[in-house]
Symmetry: C2
Subunit: 165 residues, 2 copies
């Protein structure tokens, strides 16, 4: 049986467990267009965003299995659309962690009054993510062709995905 | 006759003329999803990006008629796609300033080895911009529906536009 886990707001003292999840994802360079050489300090600043943004973890007891952040996609006349990112720990994939983080994000966005969620850079070969978002109602607005250089597959597209709330 | 102007790299001492152009655009809230209450300091930090990004002005003698900035759209596996923004001074619109800034940006992106340019938030009711970019070969990958709250027209779409280089 998979470990029972729950999604909750991240705390500063979760960072030592969040950072290895992020580092593993960005050095793999298969699913996020982030700098693979990003320092831990830059990652912390970029991920642990202050309110009104929000950061969550999926945790089983004291063990962090995944993390997400979420925020207004743009300021001013674009501030009614949310965006966010989520990552699951390698050892926790396929166990519903991504789904739980995403449904929590959707609930937060709806409760916060956002009209939609936009994911601007979903790697098209990341089929677990694409299928997860589609199963939750996201559609693909378009794909930036070859916008992501996958270390194994070469240039692949970045989907712009969208969920009306 | 329109004044003769040329596009050149911006200098720090252009800022007193760049800021009114930006302020006019963002307080109008019709063409850019920027915070209309943005401070001059934040605008300067956000617009006058350091190398390897680049900032330009279209100037007629000492008079700034428009400005652009340009940079890698994403880091890491996405760093081969450029992006940028451009604004023309109100009194200089319809005189080719936007076209000159865009063609200069395209030349820079090509010379810098970028594979494409992505504009991620072109307000669909900004028809001069849409027509300009289309005339230079940009296509629309998709439109985020209602992602921009226009003060007169209500919710309008943000086009994601793309030029292969």
């Amino acid at each position: 049986m998979p470990p029972a886990f729950a999604v909750r707001e991240a705390r500063e003292d979760d960072w030592p467990q969040i950072w290895p999840v992020i580092r593993d994802v960005i050095t793999g360079q298969q699913t996020f267009p982030y700098d693979p050489a990003m320092s831990e300090d830059d990652a912390r600043r970029g991920w642990l965003l202050a309110a009104p943004a929000r950061v969550t973890v999926a945790a089983a007891g004291g063990l962090v299995l995944g993390t997400a952040n979420m925020y207004a996609n743009r300021p001013g006349p674009g501030r009614h659309v949310a965006s966010g990112s989520l990552m699951a720990a390698r050892q926790a994939r396929g166990k519903g962690v991504g789904r739980a983080l995403t449904t929590d994000m959707i609930s937060w966005a709806r409760a916060s009054g956002f009209a939609a969620i936009q994911f601007s850079a979903v790697v098209e070969t990341n089929t677990p993510a694409v299928h997860l978002y589609e199963s939750l109602g996201f559609i693909t607005l378009g794909t930036a062709p070859g916008a992501f250089r996958h270390p194994v597959l070469g240039p692949v597209g970045l989907r712009i995905m969208w969920l009306d709330l």
